[in-house]
């Protein structure tokens, strides 16, 4: 075809697939009855989700007093979880948007599932600020609507309100981007289905036919949405970091926060993608589409962003010392050696030290190491947010109000519950839609399929490679 074929790159699609094989392999899991592993996983996730509903009801009924927050430590697990989930929700759009702009072909194997994961993670993230408000039923107060109180408008100068706009825009744009990419594949599922199933997929695929003009517009739309989503994804965690950086709390009031939060978000997002992909490719038998090549690429991103986060941690310490400002110095002394020293150790070891293992190619290509590392990074990034939030607030300006915070069962339940929400949605998604972008994988088959490129390429590969670029 028209794109140049590299002889150096390893293939991204293995098994000598034809177009029909791709359709068959990726769509058929949605047409079969779920296996036992799926059912067990679903029962566990749905139970966690049910417990989440219970914990929310408990919080609303009893009030925020059912949490261990107090006047000093007014942000605890709730905002830690919020920032953690938002961070996880960054990888999907990064993979689908930034890698699209950079023309990275390996994105096609993982973008669909990663975008779905993004949407579910942002849904989980959105829960916490809402519940944290206490009076959940008045949550609409955060929107600037003409109300009967004046109208009294919201404070457009507040980073917390910027967050409202950032998160809701990010959710909407990610959803539209994901769904528009999904429409052609839903049409593929529709054309394989019969009866009621066909009617349902006909409804959700919006009458897609695959006409040339539609594809042209679809590609144009994808490209512009990617162009919009790229600064958007960087803005979202920047704005989340403003929640802290614009305050006057030592340890929070730092200009390094935006880039440091964005790097951390990509880091944790990729870790969650790895956790899910390692399981998904095995359970749905998609090893030929989500190859070791994909996993290695993502591990490289994890190594890079993990190291960036490490540099940010060390820079913070250096600047605290160099500033000569005793409150800043104390804040960081307290982070490392204060009452929450254990979470600092957890953060440093999981986020900075352990990813260094990925300097070794053998480790990057090991499924077992990848899975364990992805869990480590998820834990480490949770600790990072906990370190920033709780250890800082526990030792504020006034020693008489110093305190120590441990969560109640309700707060722990809310966190476990959002994990339930996340995995329930993901499991349902794997049953309803193709988890790999069928059309996009087909479009790279001739430039990345193993019968055309790499060591195992057959004789016909020669003819493909000689095709000129136009």
């Amino acid at each position: 075809m028209s794109a140049p074929v590299s002889a150096i790159r390893d293939p991204l699609i293995e098994g000598g697939k034809t177009y029909h094989d791709i359709t068959e392999d990726i769509c058929s899991p949605t047409e079969k009855t779920p296996n036992l592993a799926w059912i067990i996983a679903f029962i566990i996730s749905a139970s966690a989700l049910a417990f989440y509903v219970f914990c929310v009801a408990w919080t609303v009924w009893q009030g925020i007093g059912s949490w261990n927050l107090n006047r000093t430590i007014n942000w605890g697990w709730d905002i830690t979880n919020f920032v953690w989930w938002v961070g996880i929700g960054h990888a999907g759009t990064l993979i689908s948007a930034i890698l699209l702009l950079f023309r990275q072909k390996w994105r096609t194997g993982v973008n669909r599932a990663a975008e779905a994961m993004t949407i579910f993670a942002v849904m989980c993230a959105g829960q916490f600020p809402l519940i944290h408000m206490g009076r959940l039923w008045l949550a609409f107060f955060i929107f600037p609507y003409p109300n009967t109180r004046g109208p009294l408008w919201v404070n457009f100068n507040s980073p917390l309100l910027w967050d409202v706009f950032a998160i809701s825009t990010y959710f909407t744009v990610s959803l539209l981007f994901w769904y528009t990419g999904l429409v052609p594949d839903l049409a593929t599922v529709r054309d394989r289905a019969r009866g009621l199933r066909k009617k349902i997929y006909n409804f959700v695929s919006f009458g897609w036919t695959g006409a040339a003009k539609h594809w042209q517009r679809w590609e144009s739309l994808s490209l512009v949405l990617a162009g919009l989503a790229t600064p958007l994804v960087l803005s979202v965690h920047t704005i989340v970091s403003f929640d802290f950086a614009t305050s006057v709390i030592p340890g929070w009031h730092t200009t390094i926060f935006p880039p440091y939060f964005v790097a951390g978000a990509i880091f944790s997002g990729f870790a969650m993608v790895q956790t899910l992909m390692v399981i998904t490719r095995k359970v749905l038998n998609l090893q030929e589409y989500i190859t070791l090549e994909h996993i290695e690429s993502m591990n490289k991103v994890i190594l890079l962003t993990g190291t960036m986060v490490g540099v940010a941690y060390l820079t913070e310490l250096f600047i605290a010392w160099y500033s000569g400002y005793i409150y800043e110095q104390f804040a960081f002394y307290n982070r490392v050696l204060g009452p929450y020293y254990w979470s600092y150790i957890g953060m440093m070891s999981c986020n900075v030290l352990s990813p260094q293992i990925f300097w070794f190619r053998k480790m990057r290509r090991s499924i077992f190491v990848t899975f364990i590392m992805s869990i480590f990074v998820n834990i480490g990034m949770w600790f990072e947010r906990f370190v920033i939030i709780s250890s800082t607030l526990a030792r504020d300006y006034l020693p008489t109000s110093w305190s120590y915070y441990t969560p109640t069962w309700v707060e722990i339940g809310l966190f476990i519950g959002t994990l339930g929400l996340f995995f329930t949605l993901y499991l349902v998604f794997t049953r309803l839609a193709p988890v790999v972008a069928v059309a996009e994988v087909k479009s790279i088959l001739k430039t990345a399929g193993d019968q055309y490129v790499g060591n195992g390429a057959q004789a016909q590969a020669g003819t493909v490679e000689q095709k000129e670029v136009h």
Binding site: M1, N155, N157, F177, P184, G207, T209, K213, F242
Partner: protein, 173 residues
């Protein structure tokens, strides 16, 4: 209105691209081309004009930027001025994040709605599917044969099979 469509199914996109060029050279009127994935070079082969969708995106984005910025300006300078942290009423730098987010929101939502509208796609639309394998692995080149004579019809059929189509069919849609 019902149309009678004469179409050929190809197994490979490169054969299809060559067939399209040949059809255009011999001035045959291609009704449409259907493919399972975005085929690189298809719009050039068919001579499609560039999509103007991105222009609409710019317009929606500009509307979003103005809406957000002017609204915040109106609220904080005219409707209900409040001093926050000793800053001026019209504190422009603080308006930037929301202006940016609303710009992106308007551009994205507007473009997606425009895309589905101009493509005539919406939940519940009944698609004119010529062949169910087009979304799988077949590449379809379609001619409108509603008003064609027998002679023209056999010319189309002849063209399709000689240009490498593995199947040739007629269908009313």
């Amino acid at each position: 209105m019902q149309k009678e469509v004469l179409y050929g199914l190809y197994d490979d996109e490169e054969v299809l691209l060559k067939a399209i060029s040949r059809a255009r050279e011999s001035h045959m009127n291609i009704m449409d081309v259907f493919t399972p994935f975005p085929v690189h070079g298809l719009e050039h082969a068919m001579g499609l004009s560039e999509s103007r969708l991105h222009i609409s995106g710019f317009v929606y984005g500009a509307i979003g930027a103005l809406t957000a910025f002017l609204f915040m300006t109106w609220v904080f300078t005219r409707d209900w001025p409040i001093i926050f942290g000793g800053k001026p009423y019209w504190s422009v730098p603080a308006f930037i994040p929301i202006t940016f987010e609303v710009t992106v929101l308007f551009a994205a939502v507007g473009m997606v709605v425009t895309f589905y509208t101009i493509c005539g796609m919406w939940p519940g639309v009944k698609p004119a599917v010529l062949d169910e394998r087009i979304t799988d692995d077949k590449f379809c080149l379609a001619f409108d044969a509603t008003h064609s004579t027998e002679e023209e019809r056999s010319a189309m059929e002849g063209f399709l099979s000689s240009s490498g189509a593995s199947e040739v069919h007629t269908k009313n849609v």
